[in-house]
Amino acid sequence: MKILIAGAGEVGFNIANRLAHENKDVVVIDEDPEAIKRISENIDVQVVNGSGSSPVVLEEAGIKEAEILLAVTNSDEVNLVACLATDIISPVTKKLARIRGSDYDDYHEILLDNAPHIDTVINPEIEVVRTIDRLMNVPGAVDVGEFAGGRLKFVGIHLDKKTRLAGIRLSDLPSLIGEQRLLIAAIVRNEELIIPTGDDTLMPDDLVYFVCEEENLFDTLKIFDKHEEPLRRALIVGGGSIGFRLARWLDEKSIYTKIIEKDAERCTRLAEHLNKVVVLCGDGSDQEILNEENIQDIDVVITLTNDEETNILTSLLSKKMGARKTITRISKFSYFPLMSMIGIDQVVSPRLSAINTILKHIRRGRVLSAKAIKGELAEVVEAVALETSDIVDKPLKKISFPKGVIIIGILRADEFILPSGDSVIKPDDQIVIFARRQAIPKIEKILTVKLEYF
């Protein structure tokens, strides 16, 4: 499968890197020779130096043979034109484009039905606001994924230093928690991913990923000593487009929200467009302002400026000054592993959101959603089990899964099944799979159909 990526920024780089490891045929286009150099020095993919919006460059890069175009340059306009040129030169090529401008929010479907016929418009900002909302609403969660239309929650939490679960073997967990069923999909310990068996034990500071049904979420969290917290007051630092989207969203949910923005003109615009939200003009990393705004009474501080260092500092400061929870926007992937070290647990990244959306569309098999875990280590894939594929009509224990793969949920019509070795997946079931990155190509193989499938 040939995939053309226009834009060698963080998203383009990350996707190219993943795909190169999966033996897919990838060509990356970028105008900036430095960005191209970074790609060719680090990843084994083809590169073309030129603008993704140029039909000549696209042809040179092989758009006619490409099954998918990913238009992920920094510019909405270049992405749109790249899709338009592709629509003319190679109409069958599937087009995915990142478009951030909110003016386009109501036009996503129109762009699909009319030229440039963009199959999927990726707006990471909308996705980031959703992620923030999920993080706010699951106490103690570092990471929250939703599958099967929200019915299945995939949650990552940090065990406390003094957790009562320390030293408990997973096989002994059921006797401790009674009737509830809990599936621990993975543990991250010292930046290493463990897919646990019954013999593994839990340790303080572990990052534990578990799966549960929506209605059991809060009961399950109690097992880990994470209790429901009221969410009444929020403070947003940074009134850019994500900050604005989030403020509007919190406003609708009647959460008392303040937003701090440096730029006076931007403040005026925010105040004009926001109803009950209090707009403050100032520097969010200024201790005095935080003090004046009674930071100790704030339930959640969300730092969303364009400067990630400011976000990190402001989050740390707010926490120190008594804010209960912070959520920090980070862009550089290289920062991710550092965050938990310095005490920043809840992190969001528009780029990571974009990557998750893209993954869903380039996986083989009928994939409904995909989510990268801890940046690179693993992926959760939600897919339809298709007739004739290797995964259906036999007990899970009879299927030879590659190492580092577990099925963490089966959804059949309205029934949710927490899988065991005896569970049998039927054709058209929705399944949720947790897989180490190295196992992804094999997962794709398990999901693929035989010749007889029409």
Binding site: M1, K2, K64, E65, A66, E67, S90, P91, V92, T93, K94, R364, G365, R366, L386, S389, T448, V449, K450, L451, E452, Y453, F454
Partner: protein
């Protein structure tokens, strides 16, 4: 029914030019769009989508791309030969030379599966495959298939 009942001479291409999956599907589909009055782009999309679920390059130089198409009246078959071979992501990783393309209406009741089985069966015969690969024109393709073709 036999293979030759659905394979028209116009749907046979003995010298495919493309060497990639998308290109060869576009080529194979072209004569069928006239025969069955179907939209080329729609059809190629259906075929590529099916390929994404699992390649129909079954190895041994054979590819049998297929799919269901809304609004199609009856089953349509196409045939193509590539001298140089196509990267069809086949299961044995080798180039694909002989293509049967099968498109069936959405509500087809199983005749397409019988046809698929028949095609797979005759292609297991190596001397036949060799003769087919060396066919010079569509007439010859038809007569070679005719020798092996049976009622199903």
């Amino acid at each position: 029914m036999r293979i030759l009942d659905v394979l028209q001479k116009e749907a046979i291409l003995v010298d495919l030019k493309s060497q990639d999956k998308k290109g060869v599907l576009e080529e194979l589909v072209t004569p069928l769009t006239h025969i069955a009055h179907i939209d080329q782009e729609d059809l190629v999309r259906v075929l590529i989508e099916r390929e994404r679920l699992g390649s129909t390059g079954i190895g041994g130089g054979i590819g049998i791309p297929h799919g269901k198409l809304k609004g199609l009246k009856s089953l349509v078959l196409g045939f193509g030969l590539s001298r140089r071979g196509v990267d069809f992501e086949s299961i044995d990783g080798r180039p694909t030379h002989i293509f049967f393309l099968l498109i069936t209406p959405e509500n087809s009741t199983g005749v397409h599966l019988k046809l698929l089985a028949q095609i797979s069966r005759i292609l297991k015969n190596d001397p036949f495959k060799k003769k087919l690969f060396n066919a010079a024109d569509s007439e010859e393709v038809l007569s070679i298939i005719d020798e092996e073709d049976e009622e199903f």
